[in-house]
Structures are given as structure tokens and as C-alpha cells.
């Protein structure tokens, strides 16, 4: 341990945190998070109450869902992951990284070699004690040739994982990454018990706050509190029942008739009616979810940055937010970093709709008018995707850009349209760090670089910033990267969508995290009912 030098920011995170002090501390800084929470202050002050059953109506989930963490791809499985299992690290409601199963971590000065010390005395639901083997097997499940995991690209940089002793593991990376511990907060990377070289994911045996009582993919899940849970002041509810209600009207009915206490993704069109009902409330969180319109930057006419700029000025962002998101969102500035994130570039001027500027750039590209196709489906932006495309074509027409909106089938949208058609719609759930977001979708050559954008300076900055330990220099680099994506990127980012929930007044919680929907998907162990 004394050979490794502690990182600046890791240092502050490594201090043992008293949970109560931490909570009160984050409340004081709550204002700095801005619009991240709509709760009234007296709700926050209420202490958590133990007991009771919370019934939740969920949109996403399917009969085909598997408990294999490599394939988690919807809210039903995400909350299963965070409710039944633990990660090495956790994203706190204020967006900072706090220890979970890893008690502390350190890195060499080049951020290439990481050492994680595990919490001792944590046991799985079946009584087995957690040790380094379980952690290594759980990480390796997402690595290697045979792995089908969606977390595989995140771990691609790892060259070796070793256990130093029962509670210490070291991880070696091909390149330095100062934000590396953030990765372990991802829902795929929950810690399962090891079974030989691999993991046992069929017995649903975790170290988390809730035990599985009934689990029927595509229908419902019933969870029961783990009485031996190691975290204090978490896991308030006795039981949590999650029912899948994919039909928006049925979901709303279930809430108004008291069949469930909480629903996710309420129909935005009817929310104003829901608000009239007594005993129900609507909450929204400005998170990292953003809607994108990627243009393949190696295909004409999008090769020319002037054309891309022309399109960026031809979209009326505020009108989009008002009409497509019904006001439940904020305008985007053509880069994927949310205002609530560390290193958000607040000096960048907000791009507005400007038909003249759009015309100017079109002229600069040597074009009088432009005829293009925009391919979209509801998979991308939700029910109103096509309306969004039509709205864009209306405002762009005034700038001489004629957009033909092509409606694609939802089925197979991500395999047949996205990354294939030169101009389409997409969205990102957002990532907790700027590096993660840029590396996932903007770095040269990565498979999810949805615009095939390749910018030399940007890629240099991205690698340099990843292992830069000086926070000031790091901030400057991320500011530059946001400016580059804003000015030269090949993705239009018209808006950031809020996470919206509707619930009855029994449902209570503290400050909510904004990294995912449902309090960073950790509502199961954080929320309570009164």
C-alpha cells in the first residue's frame, strides 16, 4: 500500500464516511445541484421510517429477461441488480463516488495500477462471506472472448486482476484512468458469489438490501428486506413489489386506483390531469439522459462541418423541449455533459435557433439548399419521436434545409438503423463522468461512436485528461473537449430529458441522485413510506 500514492480526488473519497454526516452534508450542497430535485424542504427533513410495503408499476421489463448480469438491459433488471446486490462503488445522491463493497481504493500516480480493499464481514443472503474471489469472478464475467456483456467495452482496458489476499485486489490497466472506480458503480458490475471460475447468477444470491421472494420476469418481482444488511440507515421497507405495466394508461389507472404507490415514465401528455388529483404528486429530476441526432461524419453531406453547423442552428431547442418533452426537460448545447455533472462547461454559449446563421453555414458549404432524410422510431425518443422529427423539419425548412422524416419500425431499430443510416435519432442514459460519456460515444473507433466522429485534438485531450491528476488542468481539458464537440462534433443534442415519476403521498425519500431514473435506480434501498 505505501508504494502507491493516493490520488487527489480519490483521497477525499477514501475517508471513512459517517452516513448521517454525509447525508446532512449533501443536503447543504443540494442547492449547487440546481434543478436536480423538486422536493420540498420539509420532505427532506423527515427521518426515514421503517416498515411497510411499496408497490411499484414499471414500464420496462420482459418475459425474456435473464438474471445474467451480462444482459441487464431494462429498469426491471437494473433495480433487481441494485436492490439484491452491491457494487464495489456507489454514486451518492450528490453525484460523488462513495465506497460500497470496496472500503477504499488507491492508485499509482499514473492511475494505471489500482488497489481495492474490500469491506470485511459482509455476507451473501445464503450466509457465505464475501471475499476477493467473488469480486474477481464477477468482474471477469464481463471480460474476455466469451463474454457477451454490455459492460465489456468498459473493462477493455484491464490487463490483469489479482487477489493480494482475501480482502485486497489489484487491477492493472493498459492506460491510466483517474475515474476508473466510477465504472464499478455500473449495474452490470454487481458482485455475485463465485462458482469455480465463473459466477452463480441463477440463485439470485447477493449481498444487497433485499432478498428475492418471487421473481417472474415480465410479470412481477417481490422482494423482502435482508435483515442482516450491512449498511446502516438503508433498506427501510419490509417488502417491495414491482409489477410490470407496460401500457401507459393502465399504469396511470393503477396509481389512481391505489393498486400501486409509484409509477415510472408516466405519460407526459396527461400529467397535468394527474396533478389535479389529491394525494398524488409528480417528481422530476434533471439527469444525464439526453436525446441525440447523430450524423455519420464520414458520409456526405455530413463530412462537411459547415453542413453540421447549419443543421445545429436549424433546430429550435426550446420548442422541442416544450412540445416533445412537454416541458419536462432542458435544452441541450450539442455536447453530452449535463449541467449536474462535474466539469460541465458553463462558459459555453447556449446555441439558439437561428435560420440566418444556418443559411450562412449552408452557403459556406457551397450549398443553396439541402435535401436529407432523417430516420427515426419510437425506440429512440419515446412516443413523440416522429413528431420531434417533423418539428425539426418545420424549423429547418425556413433555413432552406428540407428534411424528409422517415418512420422506421421499433423492432430492430438499434441493429438496423442506428449506426447505419447517415442521420437518425438516438438517446443516452448518460454516464456519471465526462470521461465515461466521451469514451463511450465520441472517442475515435469505439463501437458506439454513433456519428463515427474522429477528431485528432479531441482524442488526444481525452486520453490526456483521463490520467491527468491535477483537477484544474483536467477541468480545462474537459471544457475544451465540450467546446470541440459543440463546434465540430457530428451530433446534434437538442435536449436533456428529465426523469419523471408519479407517486402517492405515502412515498418518501431524501435527496435524489440524478445519474439514473428512480434515485440513481437505488430507490429500493433508499426510499421509505410513511
Amino acid at each position: 500500500m505505501n508504494k502507491t500514492k493516493t490520488l487527489n480526488h480519490a483521497n477525499t473519497l477514501n475517508k471513512p464516511i459517517d452516513r448521517r454526516r454525509f447525508l446532512s452534508g449533501s443536503l447543504a450542497t443540494g442547492a449547487a445541484i440546481g434543478a436536480s430535485s423538486m422536493m420540498s424542504t420539509n420532505l427532506m427533513a423527515m427521518p426515514a421510517k421503517k416498515g411497510g410495503t411499496l408497490r411499484v408499476g414499471f414500464t420496462q421489463g420482459a418475459t425474456s429477461d435473464s438474471t445474467d448480469p451480462a444482459t441487464f438491459n431494462n429498469d426491471f433488471m437494473f433495480t433487481y441488480a441494485y436492490g439484491v446486490f452491491n457494487n464495489l462503488t456507489e454514486i451518492a445522491p450528490d453525484g460523488s463516488l462513495i465506497p460500497e463493497l470496496a472500503l477504499k481504493w488507491d492508485a499509482t500516480p499514473d492511475a494505471k495500477m489500482w488497489i481495492f480493499e474490500l469491506r470485511q464481514g459482509v455476507s451473501f443472503h445464503d450466509g457465505k462471506e464475501l471475499d476477493a474471489n467473488d469480486v474477481i469472478a464477477s468482474i471477469n464475467h464481463h471480460r474476455g472472448e466469451q463474454s457477451k456483456s454490455s459492460a465489456k467495452p468498459l473493462l477493455a482496458d484491464i490487463t490483469s486482476i489479482k487477489a493480494l489476499d482475501k480482502y485486497t485486489i489489484t487491477i492493472e490497466l493498459a492506460g491510466g484512468n483517474a475515474d476508473f472506480p466510477f465504472i464499478f458503480s455500473q449495474y452490470n458490475l454487481v458482485i455475485h458469489p463465485a462458482k469455480g471460475e465463473s459466477i452463480d447468477f441463477t440463485s439470485m444470491n447477493g449481498t444487497g438490501a433485499y432478498k428475492v421472494k418471487q421473481f417472474e420476469p415480465g410479470v412481477r418481482a417481490l422482494y423482502q428486506r435482508n435483515e442482516n444488511y450491512w449498511k446502516e440507515d438503508r433498506a427501510h421497507l419490509d417488502e417491495i413489489e414491482i409489477i410490470l405495466i407496460s401500457d401507459p394508461a393502465a399504469r396511470l389507472n393503477a396509481l389512481t386506483t391505489g393498486e400501486v404507490d409509484l409509477i415510472d415514465r408516466p405519460d407526459l401528455k396527461t400529467l397535468h390531469l394527474l396533478k389535479r388529483r389529491k394525494g398524488l404528486r409528480v417528481e422530476q429530476t434533471t439527469g444525464t439522459k439526453h436525446y441525440t441526432l447523430p450524423m455519420l461524419s464520414d458520409v456526405a453531406p455530413y463530412k462537411d462541418n459547415n453542413v453540421r453547423q447549419a443543421l445545429k442552428y436549424a433546430i429550435d431547442r426550446q420548442e422541442m423541449v416544450d412540445k416533445i418533452l412537454k416541458g419536462y426537460g432542458t435544452v441541450g448545447n450539442d455536447h453530452p455533459i449535463a449541467p449536474s455533472m462535474r466539469f460541465f462547461n458553463n462558459e459555453l454559449k447556449q446555441r439558439e435557433y437561428d435560420a440566418d446563421k444556418s443559411r450562412f453555414y449552408l452557403k459556406k458549404a457551397g450549398l443553396k439548399k439541402l435535401d436529407i432524410q432523417l430516420n427515426l422510431a419510437e425506440s429512440a425518443w419515446g412516443n413523440d419521436t416522429v413528431n420531434g422529427g417533423v418539428l425539426f423539419s418545420e424549423t429547418s425548412a425556413k433555413a432552406g434545409i428540407n428534411i424528409e422524416v422517415v418512420r422506421e419500425p421499433n423492432d430492430g431499430y438499434w441493429s438496423n438503423v442506428w449506426l447505419k443510416k447517415p442521420f437518425c435519432a438516438s438517446y443516452w442514459g448518460g454516464r456519471p463522468t465526462a470521461d465515461w460519456m466521451f469514451t463511450t460515444a465520441y472517442a475515435d473507433g469505439v463501437s458506439w461512436n454513433e456519428s463515427r466522429w474522429s477528431h485528432e485534438k479531441f482524442n488526444q485531450l481525452l486520453v490526456a485528461a483521463r490520467s491527468e491528476l491535477n483537477q484544474e488542468r483536467r477541468r480545462e481539458m474537459y471544457f475544451d473537449m465540450q467546446r470541440l464537440v459543440h463546434d465540430e462534433g457530428s451530433t446534434i443534442i437538442p435536449m436533456f430529458g428529465n426523469y419523471v415519476l408519479a407517486m402517492n403521498d405515502k412515498v418518501q425519500h431524501g435527496q435524489t441522485a440524478s445519474n439514473w431514473n428512480l434515485d440513481g435506480l437505488r430507490f429500493m434501498e433508499r426510499w421509505w413510506i410513511s
Partner: protein, 318 residues
């Protein structure tokens, strides 16, 4: 009687061939759909390497014909196989869902069939009266609205505005039967409203048809009451077409309820099939479609046997 047995055997073997053809059509249809299970499950998070690994694990990289043949050999040995998506045994997956579907179908049938027959007989008895017209108008309008609309209307009046019945029909095995019946009453009523008109109008029409025959006139001239004429003389001879329509509607109650399942969040077979098709989980799709096809074949067979029993002339085609 022997000839009925012979016909049953013939029809059953034809049914097996039909099932085989159905499985072939379904398999090719799912193959033609864009994307496969690996792409659908990984969705936006897929990379070429993970898709290749996934396909290899599931054997999706083998040619379609060899996959179909191996599925068929297992199937003939009575092994439905496992869901490709989550590895659960299909027999487990289907048995719960199918019994749920049968439960609500039977529930609706128990309300709908007697109701339709009674209404039909009464409408024939008092034909062209106000009762006949009102019965026709109400039942025709209830089938003219889409199922989900009927369902929403019922929810609005019986669940949201007055909390008589629950809006979710989420039943589980641990519930007592009375609770299950209470929770599924709205889907049962919705289905009843949808199927009743077909059976009722057929009952009315075929009875009226028979009423023109000389033997009915004879019965009338003997001084029988109109009700007795219809129930004991006309109805037995009108049964064959009625039975056929009832069988068709029962089949519909089993296979056509997916919209109702979605609106009431009822865990039936239809929802399972939709999920599986959208994920290209071909083994589950195959098994579910075979069950649906089998239901149709069996119900039709039963209907034919019953019509023949009610009218033996049908056994000897002219």
C-alpha cells in the same frame, strides 16, 4: 359410432400435419424478421464482439435449417427446450401462463355462452320486438368498439370513478379462488362483451331459420306454447351452426386476448408471445404458437363431433 371414431382419428392426424406446417411457417417468419435474439437483447449496448459471443453461446451462428431440425427432433420427443433469452424451461414458462389464459377464458365463457344462448333464444322468441332490437343494438355496439376501448370504459366507471373492482388483474397462485375471480372480473366482462354478439346472433338466426320448417308449424298447430316450440323442437335442430360459432369464439377467448391482457396487466400467454417475438426468442414463440394452433384444431374438432352428434346426417356428405 365407429365412423365418428374414424373421423376423429383422421382429423387428429391432419391436425398433427397442420401443427408441423404452422411450426415451419412461424420459424421462417421469425427468421425473416430483422435482427436476432442477440441484437434484440443487447439492443443499443451491443458491440460486434458481444453479439458474436452471444450468438455462439446460443448456437444462433448455425444455419437455420439445422437449428429447425434439432428443435423438431427435441419437440417430437416431448422436449419443448429452454428459452433462448433466459434459459428457463419452456414447459415451466408456458404452464403458468397457459393456465392463466385458460382461467380467464373459461371465466368469460361461463358468463358469455349461457348469456348469448339465452339472449339469442329470447330474441328469436320475441323477434322484431323492442327486446330483440335492444339486445341486437347493445351487443352489436359492444363488439364494434375495439376491445381496449371497452376495457378502458369499464375501468373508468367500475374502477376509477367507483372503486368496485381493481384495475389490475395481477393474480398469483397463492391467492384464494374467490380473490382470483374478483381480480379478473373486469377482463372477463370485457371478453364477454366482445364475444357475446356473434353467438347470440347465430343462435337467433339459426332458430328463426328452423322456425320456417313444416314440423315446427305442426308443433304450433298442436297448440304448443311458442317457448316450448323453440326450446324443445327448433333448438335441437339449430344446434350445429351454434356449436361451431361457440367453438370459434372459445378459441378466440384463448388466443385473441393479448390486448385485454395488456390493458389489465394479466400474465397470460398472449403477452408472453408478444415479448418473445419482439426478442426473437424463437423456442418460446414456437411453443406458444403450437399451443395456439393446437387450441384451434382441438376446439374445431370438438365442435364438429358435437354437431355430428346433434345432427347425424352431417356424417354422410351428399
Amino acid at each position: 359410432m365407429n365412423s365418428i371414431l374414424l373421423m376423429t382419428l383422421k382429423r387428429l392426424s391432419l391436425g398433427v400435419i397442420t401443427l408441423f406446417v404452422v411450426s415451419l411457417i412461424i420459424f421462417s417468419a421469425v427468421e425473416i424478421l430483422p435482427g436476432d435474439l442477440a441484437q434484440e437483447v443487447l439492443g443499443q449496448t451491443a458491440t460486434p464482439e458481444t453479439i458474436a459471443a452471444f450468438r455462439h453461446e446460443l448456437g444462433l451462428d448455425k444455419p437455420a435449417i439445422s437449428r429447425y431440425v434439432s428443435w423438431l427432433t427435441n419437440m417430437i420427443q416431448g422436449d419443448f427446450g429452454h428459452s433462448l433469452a433466459n434459459g428457463r424451461a419452456i414447459s415451466d414458462l408456458l404452464s403458468d401462463r397457459f393456465s392463466n389464459t385458460l382461467f380467464v377464458a373459461a371465466y368469460a365463457a361461463i358468463i358469455a355462452v349461457p348469456l348469448a344462448l339465452t339472449l339469442g333464444i329470447l330474441a328469436a322468441l320475441y323477434r322484431n320486438s323492442w327486446f330483440d332490437r335492444i339486445a341486437n343494438i347493445t351487443t352489436l355496439s359492444s363488439i364494434s368498439f375495439p376491445e381496449f376501448f371497452v376495457a378502458y370504459i369499464l375501468i373508468l366507471f367500475l374502477s376509477v370513478n367507483n372503486s368496485f373492482f381493481p384495475s389490475l388483474a395481477n393474480i398469483s397462485d397463492s391467492m384464494p379462488l374467490s380473490e382470483q375471480l374478483y381480480r379478473t372480473i373486469l377482463p372477463a366482462i370485457t371478453l364477454t362483451l366482445v364475444v357475446v354478439v356473434h353467438m347470440m346472433r347465430m343462435t337467433r338466426a339459426s332458430i328463426i331459420n328452423v322456425l320456417a320448417s313444416p314440423y315446427v308449424e305442426m308443433a304450433r298447430m298442436k297448440g304448443m306454447s311458442p317457448a316450448r316450440v323453440i326450446v324443445f323442437h327448433a333448438l335441437p335442430n339449430a344446434l350445429a351452426p351454434i356449436i361451431n360459432v361457440i367453438a370459434l369464439n372459445l378459441a378466440y377467448l384463448v388466443v385473441g386476448v393479448v390486448v385485454v391482457e395488456v390493458v389489465f396487466v394479466y400474465p397470460g400467454l398472449g403477452q408472453l408471445l408478444v415479448d418473445s417475438v419482439s426478442k426473437r426468442d424463437i423456442t418460446v414463440v414456437q411453443a406458444a404458437s403450437l399451443i395456439f394452433a393446437g387450441t384451434f384444431i382441438l376446439l374445431n374438432l370438438i365442435a364438429d363431433i358435437l354437431s355430428i352428434l346433434s345432427n347425424p346426417r352431417l356424417l354422410n356428405p351428399r
